[in-house]
């Protein structure tokens, strides 16, 4: 039993991680799916404090953002601070903020949990490899979903602390309160990374919670159930709610279910059925349905080799109930718990696919919070957590089998078993990691470069201080520059269509010129499709579409081509309106942005009189106040805010939902301070031995 990892084991572990994630260790730009590119100017534009309005939401017209603020302090603020304090470019920043933290947290947390369970570093390292390099997480981080990746990485930490907490309570140790606070803090952090993964983690922990509850109910006196509920449920739960109050309070008070914001179609049965990509054999085998091309919706063939994984994992069930020693019983308890977790995760991850597909639909409609799981693959977390521990448990137990031909020669047995171990590991790697080793994975596993044309365009836009928007046809490219002064509108999203030709048809409408002027759009941009993901026909890049788009836009008389951006084609719209403009009325005024939820209008000479249009998405929570008169926003042209102002020299336009964010912020800060004080005061007593 190796308590500390040997150099050879660590070396092998490092080599495997390096081979799979090798590109992350070179100074090259990687991008994928949800991981876009940020210019230093864009980072400087990010606000330090959380705001309930975001200029890029609503397809570039601005929108209510409170339900999406959860990651503000964990991602946005470090991003802003590191970006501002250092001269790091995006290539380094994406590694410092996303890629390396994922690797470090995932390896460490899974290693620590396994170490507590196995008391053997070699198996713990194996567990860590399985957890960090399975097809699910490779597809997630490959697709640039780094926040999900980071929440996933934290999950074993949360399991470790929570299980320690329950065990400590059952075994009547002293550090339960300390662990309850830590558990609350960790889950709060996980919620800040991704609420769905935190939800799945809590579902997994729920099983152990009920086991703890059953154990406590057997104890005497039964009154101990109440402190158990306090430590295992209420302290962590309230910590999570209060720490995240800065976004939970606005959501509770003003509504804004993040899923409902996406539209009713996302909540229909058809949508859930569509997103149930994984069949049972995929989820059961811990095989991501999109492995390894990672094209959304393209389910690859089932690879029978992956069925070795559940075979190895559930083979651990052969070794339960063999001995009645305390250690063995403890191990049995974990094997049964982890197996149930694996079965439960496989069942949910397959979504509406058979068997019992209707159960998922029922849960989706009935269980609170389940609406977040339109895409059921998030439940792969439970499977990967379960299998990453069960497989090493099987291998460990295989070593204990007394084979008759090795009975007298234990040294031979060990050599045989270690060979078996190596073979199984290589077998696993061969099937699981072959595309990764060969460099066939896409997204963040492929290097890319920032085209010069985009830098030119960015410099051009940054140099212009006037307010205007850019309209991207068909949609905003990942290298696109946007800021609060130059928000970017995605054509497909804005016009609610799904092709560049449909966007052009909308632009050919009689009033399209006036619409773009009112939207403050100054430039219509056809991006250079560097990532080959915008101009697609049958999931393949088609240059004809790109050329046709340019040609057809060129035929629109009121669009004037602007040269000097190479493959990026830019057309100018003459006389776009400002961010604030008069629908009727006179006199001129100037405006400035105090915060993203507060603007100030000052009359240049005389007083402001008339109806002022604020070209952001209409929201009745925008108010204009001058002196003591508060004017609510009225809808203009079906989409903008407008305010009727009478004889004002100064007008303050504010977003009223912001005050709930401030109230929530105060609660969050006070909770954090209280928890840290309590943590310092409470004594930490060997909580780690409880597993």
């Amino acid at each position: 039993m190796n308590k500390t990892p040997s150099v050879v084991h660590v070396f092998v572990f490092g080599i495997i991680i390096y081979i799979i994630f090798k590109l992350w260790f070179y100074p090259v730009l990687v991008m994928g799916g949800d991981l876009s590119h940020f210019y230093p100017e864009m980072i400087k534009n990010i606000p330090l404090m959380p705001y309930a309005w975001d200029f890029q939401r609503g397809s570039g017209l601005g929108g209510y953002y409170a339900p999406f603020l959860w990651n503000h302090f964990i991602i946005t603020v470090p991003f802003l601070l590191i970006g501002k304090l250092t001269a790091f470019n995006w290539t380094i920043l994406e590694r410092v903020i996303f890629l390396y933290p994922f690797l470090i947290i995932s390896c460490c947390s899974s290693y620590l949990f396994a170490k507590k369970l196995f008391k053997d570093s070699a198996y713990a390292l194996l567990s860590s490899i399985l957890y960090t390099t399975n097809t699910y997480i490779l597809m997630v981080v490959g697709g640039g979903q780094m926040q999900i990746g980071l929440a996933y990485a934290m999950a074993p930490f949360v399991f470790l602390i929570y299980i320690s907490l329950i065990n400590n309570f059952i075994e009547k140790r002293n550090s339960t309160f300390f662990l309850a606070l830590i558990a609350g803090l960790l889950v709060s952090l996980q919620v800040m990374f991704d609420i769905r993964i935190a939800y799945v983690t809590m579902l997994g922990i729920g099983g152990y919670f009920f086991y703890g509850l059953a154990s406590v109910l057997k104890m005497k006196p039964r009154v101990r159930m109440f402190p158990y509920l306090l430590y295992a449920l209420f302290i962590p739960l309230f910590s999570i709610i209060f720490i995240n109050a800065f976004w939970i309070i606005p959501v509770i008070v003003k509504g804004g279910n993040p899923v409902q914001n996406l539209g009713d179609t996302f909540l229909r049965d058809v949508a859930v059925q569509y997103f149930s990509f994984a069949k049972l054999e995929y989820s059961f085998s811990l095989l991501h349905p999109n492995w390894f091309h990672n094209i959304f919706g393209k389910v690859d063939f089932m690879k029978s080799g992956f069925l070795t994984i559940p075979l190895l994992a559930y083979a651990s069930l052969f070794f339960v109930n063999v001995e009645k020693t305390a250690a063995k019983q403890k191990e049995t308890k974990y094997i049964v718990y982890l197996s149930l977790l694996g079965i439960f995760g496989s069942f949910l991850a397959k979504g509406t696919n058979p068997p019992f597909g209707d159960v998922y639909l029922f849960l989706f409609h009935v269980v609170p919070g389940f609406q977040l799981f339109r895409d059921p693959t998030k439940f792969y977390l439970l499977i990967s957590f379960s299998y990453s521990l069960l497989i090493p448990l099987t291998l460990k137990n295989l070593q204990t089998i007394e084979l008759p031909f090795f009975k007298k020669r234990s040294a031979h047995k060990k050599i045989f078993m270690s060979l078996l171990f190596s073979f199984l590991l290589l077998f696993y790697l061969f099937f699981l990691l072959k595309p990764a080793i060969q460099g066939n994975l896409s997204g963040t596993f492929k290097s890319t470069s920032l085209p010069e044309d985009y830098i030119k365009l960015k410099n051009f836009l940054v140099s212009d201080n006037a307010y205007y928007r850019t309209l991207w046809v068909p949609t905003v490219q990942k290298f696109a520059f946007y800021s609060s002064n130059h928000p970017a509108i995605g054509g497909e999203g804005f016009f609610k269509v799904n092709s560049s030709s449909a966007v052009i048809n909308k632009l050919k409408n009689r009033n399209a010129n006036i619409l773009l002027q009112e939207l403050s759009v100054r430039y219509v941009i056809v991006p250079f499709d560097a990532e080959k993901e915008l101009f697609m026909r049958d999931r393949k890049y088609d240059e004809k579409l790109y050329k046709n788009t340019i040609q057809n836009l060129g035929k629109i008389s009121w669009l004037k081509p602007v040269s000097n951006f190479g493959s990026i084609k830019v057309f100018e719209v003459k006389n776009p309106k400002d961010h604030f403009w008069f629908a009727d009325g006179n006199n001129s005024f100037k405006w400035k942005q105090i915060t993203p939820t507060h603007y100030q209008l000052l009359a240049k000479n005389g007083k402001i009189n008339g109806r002022i249009i604020f070209s952001e998405s209409f929201d009745p929570n925008w108010n204009a106040s001058s002196m003591d008169i508060i004017t609510p926003s009225e809808i203009y042209n079906g989409m903008f805010n407008s305010f009727r102002i009478v004889n004002a020299t100064q007008v303050d336009i504010t977003y009223t939902n912001q005050r709930w964010v401030w109230i929530g912020m105060v609660i969050s800060i006070l909770t954090c301070i209280t928890i840290f004080i309590l943590l310092i005061l409470s004594r930490r007593k060997e909580y780690g031995q409880s597993l």
Binding site: K279, L280, E281, F284, M302, S304, G305, L307, P310, L311, Y314, A315, L317, F318, V320, N321, V322, T332, V336, S339, L340, I343, S346, F347, P354, P355, E402, L403, P404, D538
Partner: protein, 283 residues
């Protein structure tokens, strides 16, 4: 639904013969090993159902395990007992193990069933076995039917895949007429089917029928090995599918270069060429 009858049958076995969870996991392991073979023989529907069965049986096994941990496990026949028996007994064959199981099962059955006045419960048990066996047979039949349907669908796809059976001549000069014989070439005017080589579509086709294509080797082709195949595009449920025939290879030789072994090969093949091909090329 058919799977659940198999599952109920297994639950019945557990209750009737008190088999332990490890025996359940042994069954799971055996089913795991069956899966790749089913895929190998293109029985994908069966393979999917086997995975579902594995999944459900594992779940049953875990529940069994929890039950056993709360009760005396010696009451159940466990795998480790069998495992150690196998390895501690010399010259014990697989048949011996099976016979041990069957003898044990039969003795248990005989104790219950062969009695002077059959009790109500024993009659019920026999009836239940009968029903479950019938359903199991029905399950196998349904699985077979599903597989047959899938095979029929595959046959429907095969109808769209062209097949080249013969290409003559195989060594050619520029200007030689080549005849391709085979199946499901369809008709060229459908536009979605085309004759192609590694450089692109071959457009100068002289004759095209469902079983025969004749074309002339263009003067601008490069010498060397040339791969020929037929490509058929079809729309199925709004998706475009491209079907390729098998690839046939011909060798194009130059008329202006020195006399080589390939020129000998050209004249050698003439002895064996079909009359139609000879006539097409004026020989």
């Amino acid at each position: 639904m058919s799977l659940f009858f198999l599952l109920i049958f297994w639950i019945f076995i557990i209750f009737r013969y008190k088999t332990g969870s490890s025996i359940t996991f042994l069954l799971v392991t055996l089913l795991f090993f069956i899966y790749p073979f089913l895929l190998l023989y293109s029985l994908s529907v069966l393979a999917e159902q086997i995975v579902t069965l594995i999944f459900l049986i594992i779940f049953i096994g875990i529940l069994q395990n929890i039950w056993e941990s709360q009760h005396q496990q010696r009451k159940f026949i466990q795998f480790n007992v069998l495992f150690s028996a196998v390895f501690s007994t010399r010259n014990l064959s697989f048949l011996d193990i099976c016979s041990l199981f069957i003898r044990e099962a039969m003795s248990r059955i005989s104790k219950r069933v062969i009695i002077r006045k059959p009790s109500f419960s024993s009659i019920l048990t026999i009836l239940l076995i009968g029903v479950i066996m019938s359903f199991s047979l029905y399950t196998v039949w349904v699985m077979y039917e599903n597989q047959r349907k899938l095979d029929d669908e595959k046959k429907a796809w095969n109808y769209l895949i062209p097949n080249i059976e013969q290409v003559e001549p195989k060594v050619v000069y520029r200007g030689t007429k080549i005849r391709i014989k085979g199946k499901q070439f369809k008709f060229q005017d459908l536009a979605r089917i085309k004759l192609v080589n590694q450089y692109g579509e071959i457009k100068n086709v002289d004759y095209w029928s469902d079983s025969k294509i004749i074309f002339t080797v263009p003067l601008d082709w490069k010498t060397g090995k040339i791969s020929l195949w037929i490509q058929n595009e079809d729309n199925w449920e709004g998706k475009k599918h491209i079907f390729h025939s098998n690839i046939a290879t011909i060798t194009l030789i130059d008329t202006k270069s020195n006399w080589t072994s390939e020129d000998y090969a050209y004249f050698d093949q003439i002895k064996y060429l079909d009359k139609e091909v000879l006539k097409l090329n004026g020989i």
